[in-house]
Each structure stands twice: as C-alpha cells, then as structure tokens.
C-alpha cells in the first residue's frame, strides 16, 4: 500500500462518516424545523449512534493532530526507507475503522433486526474489512506478503 492508497482509504472512510452524520443531521434538523410528526430522532438507537459518531469524529480530529505532530518529529536512519512502526496507521485506519463498523452495523440492524439469521453476513463482511485493512498495513510496512 503506497501512501497515496493510505490517503485514499482514510479519506474514503472519513468521508463516509461525514456523509452519514450529514444525512442523519439533516433529517433530524428538517424534522425539528418543520415540527414534523415523524422524527428519526425518536429512534433511540439512531440518536445514540449519531451522538457517538460525532464524538468519535471529534476524537479522530484530536488524535490526527497528535499523530501529525509525531510524524513531523520522526527521524529516519540513513539508508533506511522502511517504516519501523505501524503507529502512523493507528489513526488513519484503526480509529476510523471503528466508526465504520458502527456505520455498517446500523443499517443492517435497522433492516434485518438484531436477532436475525442474517448475522453471519454482517460478521463475515466486517471480518473481510478488518482483514483487508490489516493486510494493507502489513504490505506498506514489509512489502508484498
């Protein structure tokens, strides 16, 4: 995984989180502004997800600033062109991936329900997502596995 791919993946995940927050925020704001009879804020799970996602994104901002600062202070030994630590991926992939998991889980739960037999699909999808991100991080550190 090149740095360009890492940026693409990170931006994709962050844009996904921002899009979801914007859609839910717009829907709630529309309902509040027009005194709508049906308001998605009445759904406790969706409301708590909205609050959590905003909190996670706020944490991401703080963590990314700290990571940016640590990247600037990084020194690379002469002749060494391989990253020695996966610390820089902790924010860009790991942190946002947690929010992404919640985003994937929310529509699944709302459409299929929590006790549905379709759970194996959701579990498998998340496992593949985590596996791919882990493999990309390994590939960027050590080359092709």
């Amino acid at each position: 995984m090149t740095s360009t791919t890492q940026i693409t993946l990170t931006i994709s995940l962050v844009m996904l989180v921002l899009f979801v927050i914007a859609i839910i925020g717009f829907s709630i704001g529309f309902a509040n502004d027009n005194n709508a009879e049906i308001n998605i804020a009445d759904d406790p799970e969706l409301s708590s997800f909205y609050t959590d996602a905003k909190g996670d994104l706020s944490d991401y901002k703080t963590d990314s600033e700290e990571t940016y600062s640590s990247i600037l202070k990084t020194t690379i030994e002469p002749g060494s062109d391989v990253a020695q630590s996966s610390g820089s991926f902790a924010i860009t992939s790991g942190n946002v991936l947690g929010v992404t998991k919640n985003i994937v889980y929310l529509p699944y739960k709302k459409i299929f329900g929590s006790g549905s037999g379709f759970g194996i699909f959701f579990t498998t999808f998340l496992a593949i997502l985590i596996f791919i991100v882990g493999l990309l991080i390994y590939k960027s550190l050590r080359g092709n596995p």
Binding site: T5, L16, F19, I23, S27, N34, E37, L106, K110
Partner: protein, 113 residues
C-alpha cells in the same frame, strides 16, 4: 343503472387532497414504500441508462447515492404530517442512504488497493 362493487372504500375527496392520500395509505399501507421505491428506481436506472448511452459506462455506486438522496427528500416531506409514512420506513430510507454511501466510498479502484 349498474353499481360497481369497489374492493376498498373510496376516500372522501371533500376533506382535501392530502386526506385522499392519507385514507389511501390507511387502506393500503404499502402505498408510501411503493412511491419511494418508484422514485429510487427511476433515478437509479434512469441515471445508469443515460450515462451508459453517453459514455459507454456507468458509475453504479454514485447513482445509488444520488437515487437514495432523491428518495430521502420525498420521505422527509411525507414525515411532516402523520399518516403518510411510518418511522420504521423513514429509518429504512436513511439506512438505504448509508448503505449506498458505504458502497460509494469504499468502491476504490484495484490499482488504488
């Protein structure tokens, strides 16, 4: 004079246009989801077909996002008054937006991965 037997009671049209829709939905609750499904499919298939005819290829995830947003807008308008849409249907439309966004934002090109 022949009187026709209607399958459902006809809505009372003297109480306003919205009341006709409300009474129709009351008799046939799947009416609103059918309208929303119609909006989604018209935008989704129409957009894909038109883009394919112009450029030879179509961006399926992008049209899914556009179609789901186009579906959300009438769903939100329905939510202003009671009787048009239920809360669970509105949440499913929002969920559809989220699923489309997942498809769109994670649709990276092979060379990028």
């Amino acid at each position: 004079m022949i009187f026709l037997d209607y399958l459902y009671n006809l809505p009372n049209s003297t109480e306003g246009l919205d009341e006709i829709v409300t009474q129709t939905i009351d008799i046939f609750p799947f009416f609103t989801p059918m309208i929303l499904f119609f909006v989604f499919m018209v935008v989704f298939i129409g957009g894909i077909t038109r883009q394919k005819s112009r450029t030879g290829t179509a961006d399926y995830p992008a049209w899914a996002v556009v179609a789901s947003i186009a579906t959300l807008l009438p769903a939100l308008l329905f939510s202003v008054s009671s009787g048009f849409i239920r809360l669970d249907w509105l949440i499913i439309v929002v969920s559809l937006n989220i699923l489309s966004a997942i498809w769109f934002f994670l649709d990276m090109k092979p060379q990028e991965v």
